[in-house]
Amino acid sequence: MAKRTSKKSNGTARLSKQDRHTLAQLTELAHSVVRAAERKRDPHLDIPARSLSNVRFNKSRRIIEMGRNTNRRHLFNLNQAKSYMQTLLVAAGCKQLIDQGKTTSIRGLYYMLKHTIKGTKEETFDDQSECDPVIEDLEVLVRCLREELHLYAQKKGDMVGPLVLVDNGDEIDCSRMGSGGYGIPSIVEPERIQFKKCTADFVLHVEKDTVWQRFNEDKFWKKHNCILTHGGGQPPRGVRRLLYRLHHELGLPIYCLLDNDPWGYYIYSVIKQGSINLAFESQRMAVPDARYLGLRSKDFRECELSDSVKIALTDTDRKRARQIAQYPWFAHKKKWQKEIQQLLENDFKLEVEALISKDISYVTEVYVPERIAAGDFLD
């Protein structure tokens, strides 16, 4: 008790509406433990399952929604006791963050909560990989985004383009960011970032930094008046949320240029429908109108690439490709089925960089402009 009041006095306790909501959710979690203990029951948490079996594809909204399946986590179960304890520990940690009006990285939280359990040599968390899934558990459990828990992930993803925005009060002109671009923060909520002026016609999202550099150097965004983003592989939430806002608030169409492999397909799927892991967030992140520009399985032939750029598919690649073809949001799209079928027939994958083998600026000067002009993309 005393501990908490002291914290309140020295912490900045100005809570936003969102914070109050999150706090209420966390407190409810604690109440359930006390209630169970008072009734001499085994306290448990019902954590929504974060698996393919527990997501539903909402055909009208065209996004993934989380189902009702939950995994029950008991305190008095040998296999679950520790993760139960960890879940509550993370909840308590987040509450302290919110109370103090601070945010921290998930690694920071891991260090904040890591300590030796009294009377033993056991650590509360052995390493961060043990802590991260627990954070995700808590997110789905209290139905709050990571950002709402005052946590952020490692920042990755950059942006350039004719866009002026205000980030935490600072005005930033994304067309004057030099060669580095504007680093997309992990929290891009309207409270943090407001769009001020935008003249772009569309957004081109590329898979990774190297390709993004190519486009930026060739001033592709200037030539075609677009915003250029990348997400460093699987885009973090900040990037996805920003794409969502660019699309919904500014009405910009989103085009994705990703590798021609199952991994690229899945990145597209996440941007478009949301991720399976955190399906409850997709309504705030998914951009169902995003388009898949490339690379396509047919490009090896159409662009007349040399054999040396082929990368053979591995067994996991093949398995993953078949799995993706089965996803309900791909299952009824004939073009996509054909695309994936083609990939399997090719039995090789292609990276976007493969186009460089033709010419250093082939991708920026020929490939993308032609595809956009021809409207040759997958939905």
Binding site: M1, K3, R4, L26, T27, L29, A30, H31, V33, V34, A36, A37, E38, K40, R41, D42, P43, L75, F76, L78, A81, K82, Y84, M85, L88, L89, A91, A92, K95, Q96, I117, K118, G119, T120, E122, T124
Partner: protein, 668 residues
């Protein structure tokens, strides 16, 4: 070629000369030269064998007379390597004219010619001990025996004439002395320095011999302790060379049932023996001979044997020739004859064996099993096995003073050897760990340790638990007599090593004794125990005996397995509890941060739930998935469990106690 060479040389002796050298060898002479055959190989063993033969005889005599035995054993040091051993009993006493024969003639005995379970068999033991004493010190054997409270005590000093195997009485002009009962007699004894524990009847034998007293493995102390296990009806008083007295009181007030004497079984008789019996028989007909000299031969069986052999049932036994005897022998082997009666055996019994073992070996779990009697070569025998598990290792029971004495006495060259040889079952591994913990060098000489070093060693012995490196302690008995030597040559050891102890939860590598804090007691009871030598140290591996041994060992093994599995399960529950307890505090803290609940109150609440939860789990299932109820526990009377597990709950409550290990056995 050799004959040619030999004939070419000059003959050294003529046949006549050679013949003149040949003469009778007396048994006494033979054994005086071959003392190792009787267990007098070295001074240390000589001491033990002497005590052992005397005690065995005393116990046999007491039991035959129906007296609860009380034995006094006294060893006095006479300086140098001379010792005086006195053993007295409260037995029936020995008749005057028999005393010289019993103690002064080899191969004189009451037990050789009958088939009955007894400790002694051949009638060599005690007279051989006397002879050994005489050979090494030149002092005679002294015997006092009294047959009743009003009867005089007969006092003899006897030597053996080894050449003629005859007793020579030294006192009372070759007649011995009669000491009158009452006060007068007591005075006489005092004057002549004769010790006598005041009992109405009994016998005391005193032998002076060259010997060596050393504690530890194969010692007199060990023999007496082991005797107490297998003979819970015996009280033993022991005075060691330092004058320390120790009494092992009896734990049972009942004498074992008297074993019956039986006639030999036809299957157990060999051809030569059969011929001799035929010659000596006074029976009129072959049929009578067969039915009266053997057990389990009825008229009809006798007839069948005779028919098969092609002999008349009316033939005179004395006239049966060598060929006919052989036919008769074959016929016996071919005829189906009932197994011998087994009431001639008196096993210790599971209950008494458990009691005896519990009395002497500290442990947590005891189990015993007695096999039904079986037969080898026509001799009935019976196997009993008891097992003790857990308890402190022998190294942890030693006091600082005793350790110092043990170190002085030891003739081991290094500390490591000292530890291995002095303490049963700690093994090389355990010894090494103790030495490592003590920080002393492995090669230190035990007798030269300084005070501070002894302290260190003692401390290490107290703290190191040699359980893991410990090998099974095997205590072997034949007709209630402990077998302390030649463990490796014994059928019992073979049987123990051949059982797969791994399936009963012990670690065990092939060709060795299993590891772990286990003591196994094996008792072979038989009318004729097949020893491998006269010193009665190891049992011969007859297949029938090995089979029975295996079955008995497996029976106790199964019980041990059940106990160990149960213990493992209880341990698992404890681990479970500990795990929960560990996290409860964290959970309570987290919750109190979240919603300001009183942390301690919540912790108590959660603790209650935890107790309930694990208590339930304790009761639920055993390893094989069957439902277990507390009422099943300890129903098996051949099992004894001593629980001494430490309390694990931080706060105690009534149901917390119940939650502890009150699970039970189930048969598997």
């Amino acid at each position: 070629m050799s004959t040619a060479a030999a004939s070419s040389r000059k003959r050294r002796r003529s046949a006549e000369q050679l013949a003149a050298q040949g003469r009778d060898i007396s048994v006494s002479e033979f054994f005086a030269k071959n003392r190792h055959l009787l267990g007098f190989d070295n001074p240390r063993k000589a001491l033990l064998t002497t005590v052992k033969e005397a005690v065995d005889n005393s116990l046999d005599a007491c039991e035959e007379a129906g007296i609860l035995p009380e034995i006094w054993v006294q060893i006095e040091s006479l300086g140098g390597n001379r010792y005086r051993v006195s053993v007295q009993d409260n037995g029936p006493g020995i008749l005057k004219k028999q005393i010289p024969l019993v103690f002064g003639k080899l191969l004189y005995g009451s037990k050789f010619h009958r088939l009955r379970m007894s400790r002694g068999q051949q009638g060599i033991g005690i007279s051989a001990a006397g002879m050994y004493g005489m050979l090494t010190t030149g002092r005679p054997v002294k015997i006092i025996s009294k047959t009743g409270p009003r009867r005089p005590a007969h006092y003899y000093e006897i030597q053996i004439d080894t050449r003629r195997n005859k007793p020579e009485i030294l006192n009372g002009r070759g007649q011995g002395v009669d000491i009158p009962p009452g006060e007068k007699g007591r005075q006489y004894m005092e004057q002549h320095g004769i010790h006598w524990e005041d009992v109405p009847h009994g016998t005391r034998v005193t032998i002076e011999l060259e010997a060596r007293h050393q504690r530890g493995r194969g010692s007199v102390e060990e023999y007496l302790e082991q005797t107490a296990i297998a003979n819970p009806h015996v009280t033993i008083h022991y005075t060691d060379p330092d004058g320390q007295q120790r009494t092992i009181p009896r734990s049972a007030e009942v004498l074992p049932p008297e074993p019956k004497e039986i006639k030999p079984h036809p299957y157990g008789v060999e051809l030569g023996m059969l011929s001799t019996m035929l010659k000596q028989s006074r029976e009129q007909t072959l049929s009578q001979f067969l039915t009266r000299s053997f057990s389990r031969v009825s008229q009809s069986v006798a007839k069948k044997i005779c028919e098969t052999a092609g002999l008349s049932t009316r033939a005179r036994p004395g006239r049966i020739g060598r060929h006919e005897a052989e036919r008769l022998y074959q016929a016996i082997q071919q005829t189906r004859i009932q197994a011998p009666a087994t009431d001639c055996l008196a096993p210790i019994g599971e209950q008494l064996l458990l009691k005896g073992l519990h009395h002497v070996v500290p442990g947590q779990f005891y189990a015993a099993h007695t096999r039904p009697p079986a037969v080898y070569r026509g001799n009935p025998f019976q196997i009993e096995v008891a097992l003790a598990y857990g308890g402190a290792a022998p190294t942890r029971k030693v006091s600082r003073e005793l350790l110092e004495e043990l170190l002085q006495e030891s003739d081991a060259r290094t500390l490591r050897q000292f530890l291995i040889h002095t303490f049963n079952g700690i093994g090389a591994d355990g010894a090494e760990r103790i030495l490592k913990a003590s920080g002393l060098g492995v090669r230190k000489v035990p007798a030269k340790l300084r005070k501070a070093e002894i302290d260190k060693l003692h401390q290490a012995m107290q703290h190191v638990n040699p359980d893991e490196g410990q090998t099974m302690t095997l205590i072997r008995y034949a007709n209630r007599v402990p077998l302390q030597f030649q463990q490796a040559a014994c059928a019992i050891t073979q049987a123990v090593m051949n059982v797969n102890w791994r399936s009963y939860g012990l670690s065990h590598s092939r060709g060795s004794l299993p590891a772990g804090p286990v003591t196994v007691v094996v008792h072979v009871a038989s009318v004729w125990v097949p020893f491998t030598s006269e010193s009665k140290e190891a049992i011969a591996p007859y297949p029938e005996i090995l089979r029975e041994l295996r079955l008995a060992l497996q029976a106790v093994g199964r019980k041990l397995g059940m106990y160990l599995r149960r213990r493992a399960r209880v341990k698992q529950q404890e681990d479970r509890r500990n795990l929960f307890l560990r996290y409860l505090d964290e959970v309570a803290t987290a919750v109190s941060i979240l919603d300001n609940t009183d942390k301690d109150h919540l912790y108590q609440l959660l603790l209650e739930v935890a107790k309930r939860k694990t208590a339930e789990a304790d009761m639920k299932l055993d390893r094989s998935g069957r439902l277990v109820g507390p009422e099943e526990e300890l129903q098996d009377e051949s099992v004894l469990i001593v629980e001494d597990r430490p309390e694990l709950w931080i706060t105690r409550s009534s149901n917390g106690q119940q939650a502890h290990g009150e699970t039970s056995e189930t048969e598997d």
